[in-house]
């Protein structure tokens, strides 16, 4: 397993946002965590990426226990993420944004920078080439010198993905990547996510939009009220009575079951 959580919990002053969640994400493919609004999906992402600390439970990544590792060390271990509410560095250029995503991959000591050693210069050229490749992946190669804050909403979302991909992560976490997108943009996003998975990066995405996830994912984990209520292939999730109930409510589920042939 590339990423595994066991009995992972996070309490906020009496509220249990994530409740003993077991998650197992294998190497490769596209995986989704879905659930109604407030099911604890974003909190789970924050726990995995290191923005929040778990109240209980464990997280392991690539065979290493990362439960207590700070966010920057997790990034260096090969984890990258995007945000539901866009968080590009608005005052920097598009290219500089992508370059920050490479930070985890590059080690530049202060003396090497000051001395401008040849090895450092080569690394710097290499970094710019990789940042530009990441921009090309999402189709932003022509906007490299635009200020990121001036990009359109959809382009800022794509820039976040490029920034996350620049370092060549093993695991890419996408937090509601399709939020606020129209059907055409969603289709383009699905194509992009498939291309990323085809490059060998494992994708884990959080969504509350079921149709988007169903056509895209190899496996689905469903959360409701912080608990895992389902894990398996997307087809089976659609048939699962617990999942249906979580999404459309108990009464409607009973009515639907009654109408079934």
């Amino acid at each position: 397993m590339l990423l595994q959580t066991s009995a992972l919990s996070r309490h906020f002053a009496g509220l249990v946002a994530v409740d003993r969640v077991d998650l197992a994400i294998p190497q490769g493919g596209i995986h989704a965590v879905i659930g109604p609004n407030g099911a604890g999906k974003t909190t789970l992402f924050n726990l995995i990426s290191g923005l929040a600390t778990p109240t209980a439970g464990q997280i392991s990544f690539a065979g290493q226990d990362i439960t207590l590792l700070p966010a920057d060390r997790r990034a260096q271990a090969g984890m990258a993420r995007t945000f539901q509410n866009i968080r590009v560095f608005a005052t920097m250029s598009v290219l500089d944004n992508a370059l920050t995503g490479l930070h985890a991959r590059l080690s530049a000591s202060l003396p090497a920078i000051i001395a401008r050693l040849p090895g450092f210069r080569r690394a710097e050229r290499d970094a710019i080439a990789r940042a530009q490749a990441a921009l090309a992946l999402v189709g932003l190669q022509d906007r490299a010198y635009t200020q990121a804050g001036a990009l359109a909403y959809g382009d800022q979302r794509r820039l976040e993905i490029a920034r996350a991909m620049a370092g060549g992560p093993r695991l890419l976490l996408l937090d509601e990547p399709a939020a606020g997108m129209n059907p055409a943009e969603r289709a383009a996003l699905a194509t992009l996510i498939r291309a990323i998975a085809a490059q060998g990066t494992t994708v884990l995405l959080v969504e509350h939009d079921m149709p988007f996830v169903m056509g895209l994912s190899d496996s689905v984990t469903v959360l409701n009220f912080g608990r895992r209520i389902f894990a398996g292939p997307p087809g089976a999730a659609r048939q699962d009575p617990g999942v249906i109930e979580a999404y459309i409510g108990h009464k409607a589920a009973v009515r639907l079951a009654g109408q079934a042939p």
Binding site: P70, A71, D72, F89, T91, M92, T100, G167
Partner: protein
């Protein structure tokens, strides 16, 4: 006469700018109004005083005092603010903690060393001066100008031209997101404290040279100017601090020269109020707009 006043103002302004750059860097990146900042200015001046009294040449005493001031800044930031940062305390808490700390530091230093004004050893710099086009510039002033230009240039290059600067700018804008990019924010915060403290320390040495008057509270009067400069220049704006620092130095010297030296601070603070009336985020500020 006017040209000479402008030159003197530029010199004074260059040291103000140098001092304010560290202050604005600290505020912009660490998001803390750290009032202990003025103490590093005093510390730099005293360290250079002691080193030169012990016989060290100025070209060694200046960098040594700057580096030591940087280390003191890193240590004090860690000591005073780590707990507050971890607890996510608001800006007022760090303001009060650093205010208390800096008053204790000044008072402790005065109790230890006395309030007397000290002078650098005579003959530290050759007393010569250059004269051209009716302007006169002493060797000490040339040294001050050169040191300011070098340090400001280095800082701008670090921030705009290196990957480290990119990481610092990323951290200034969104610390959480920067950490997710693999940027070791805690280590970088220590580095920023060091650079800021070193700039303040260097400023202390240079002002000490310019006026040849070193005393424990010298950092306090400098802090008032530091505030004017970083607020007028736009909080956290390096280029703005540079311009505002030069401007303040020139205005102070012109006021003292043509109106009255007793009025130079009144004019400086009237300028602050005037700028903030018309541009609440400072001359080059975007911080307030970005926060909104």
């Amino acid at each position: 006469m006017l040209a000479q006043q402008l030159l003197n103002g530029l010199l004074l302004g260059a040291t103000y700018a140098l001092f304010a750059l560290g202050f604005t860097l600290m505020f912009g990146v660490l998001r803390v109004v750290n009032l202990t900042y003025g103490f590093y200015f005093t510390a730099g001046a005293f360290l250079a005083l002691w080193l030169t009294q012990a016989g060290a040449p100025l070209f060694l005493a200046l960098p040594a005092a700057a580096i030591a001031s940087g280390l003191i800044a890193t240590l004090l930031d860690w000591l005073l603010l780590t707990r507050l940062r971890r607890a996510g305390a608001d800006e007022l808490a760090s303001l009060m903690v650093t205010l208390g700390a800096v008053l204790a530091l000044y008072a402790g230093m005065t109790a230890w060393l006395g309030p007397d004004i000290r002078r650098l050893p005579p003959g530290l710099i050759a007393a010569g001066a250059l004269e051209a086009f009716g302007l006169r510039i002493t060797l000490a002033q040339i040294l001050i100008l050169a040191a300011c230009a070098l340090l400001v240039g280095l800082l701008l290059w670090l921030m705009r031209g290196t990957r480290l600067g990119l990481a610092i700018r990323a951290m200034a804008e969104r610390p959480d997101t920067a950490a997710l990019m693999g940027i070791a924010t805690a280590r970088l915060a220590a580095l920023v404290s060091f650079v800021s403290g070193a700039l303040a320390g260097a400023g202390g040495v240079l002002i000490g040279l310019n006026f040849n008057a070193i005393h424990p509270y010298m950092g306090e009067s400098m802090m008032l100017r530091g505030f004017v400069v970083i607020v007028v220049g736009g909080l956290g704006n390096i280029f703005g601090a540079l311009v505002a620092g030069l401007l303040l130095g020139i205005i102070e010297v012109l006021t003292a020269g043509y109106i009255s030296s007793g009025l130079k601070e009144a004019v400086a603070f009237a300028l602050l109020v005037l700028v903030l009336w018309t541009r609440p985020a400072g001359l080059f500020g975007t911080t307030l707009a970005r926060k909104a």
